[in-house]
């Protein structure tokens, strides 16, 4: 009987801990994840903030770059190129909501990479951009 109660307590704690762990994703988690994914095909890969900045601020065959809407300063507010609506800063130091949820990060990479590149972004590209955004001061 006692043992049974202990198991329930343990299971409950594990569920709680799992929930908390999933809720609290950090920018470093995304950097590690995309870097690891990139290493599947390029074992020596290491994310570069410098490459990330270049990727973010240049066009890739289309009309827009990432910075068309987000500006070249990740700590600044951007403005949607079509609608004019304000876009909150991309740098986690300036906006704690950034790089905090897989659902949101994957949704926006998915949409915006298609808008800017006409294809999905590679894990290496995502790792570089995340590294650059994390480097940005407030």
């Amino acid at each position: 009987m006692k043992r049974h109660t202990l198991w329930i307590l343990l299971a409950g704690t594990a569920v709680l801990a799992g929930g908390v762990a999933r809720a609290a994703e950090t920018p470093a988690d995304f950097l590690a994840r995309y870097q690891n994914e990139a290493r599947q095909s390029a074992p020596g890969f290491s994310a570069s903030a410098e490459r990330g900045e270049k990727f973010f601020t240049t066009t890739h065959g289309g009309e827009w770059s990432c910075s068309t809407c987000h500006t070249k300063n990740p700590a600044a507010r951007g403005k949607h190129a079509n609608t004019g609506k304000a876009i909150e800063p991309m740098a986690p130091a300036a906006n704690p909501e950034r790089l905090a949820s897989t659902r949101s990060v994957e949704k926006w990479f998915g949409r915006n990479c298609k808008d800017v590149l006409g294809r999905v972004c590679t894990p290496a590209e995502k790792a570089d951009v995340v590294a650059w955004l994390m480097n940005s001061p407030r």
Binding site: H80, N82, T83, G84, K85, K107, G110, R111, N112, K114, D115
Partner: protein, 171 residues
């Protein structure tokens, strides 16, 4: 003493009724009926790149067509996962305009600013709208409701809250 109490109460009641009627009349003038945007998922998913437009501004056919083509949404990819898309479509259809918003070609109109109602309400000269204001730096696009309707992001399009920026000027 006993006679004044009901009289006072009646007077107070009359005041309350009058105030209520005035409020209703005002709401009617403001043309802000059925501007329901109170759906958390709709507001967060469809209120990022533009404000969450009131579902009542398009008919059900237009919203269904809109939600079926989110991967090519006015030149942007606005894809949603199937579950979220279904939940939002349900909200849009339940709160859609009763009128049909198909164009002259019979196809559902997707751009709110193309509908006859919008064009009539936002014609040059109407309510202080100046020619070219929609393309000005301050407004940029007819999708930018909040440039003039100050509380549009909350679904409030009351006429008393309209402030039209001076043409070409930043507000």
């Amino acid at each position: 003493m006993t006679a004044t109490f009901p009289t006072r109460a009646l007077r107070a009641l009359a005041l309350v009724v009058a105030a209520g009627a005035a409020g209703l009349a005002l709401a009617d003038d403001d043309e802000n009926k059925r501007m329901n945007i109170n759906h958390p998922e709709y507001r967060s998913e469809c209120g990022s790149c533009h404000i969450a437009f009131p579902p009542a501004l398009l008919g059900t056919g237009s919203w269904r067509a809109m939600m079926a083509g989110l991967d090519k949404h006015f030149g942007s990819d606005a894809s949603l996962d199937a579950e979220t898309s279904a939940v939002i479509t349900k909200f849009l259809v339940a709160n859609a305009a009763r009128r049909d918003t198909s164009g002259s070609d019979g196809r559902p109109q997707l751009r709110i600013s193309d509908t006859p109602w919008f064009r009539k309400e936002h014609r040059d000269g109407h309510d202080g709208i100046t020619p070219g204001i929609f393309r000005s730096e301050a407004v940029k696009s007819a999708a930018n409701c909040a440039a003039c309707h100050r509380n549009a992001a909350e679904g409030d399009y009351s006429e008393r809250d309209i402030r039209i920026p001076r043409n070409g000027a930043r507000s």
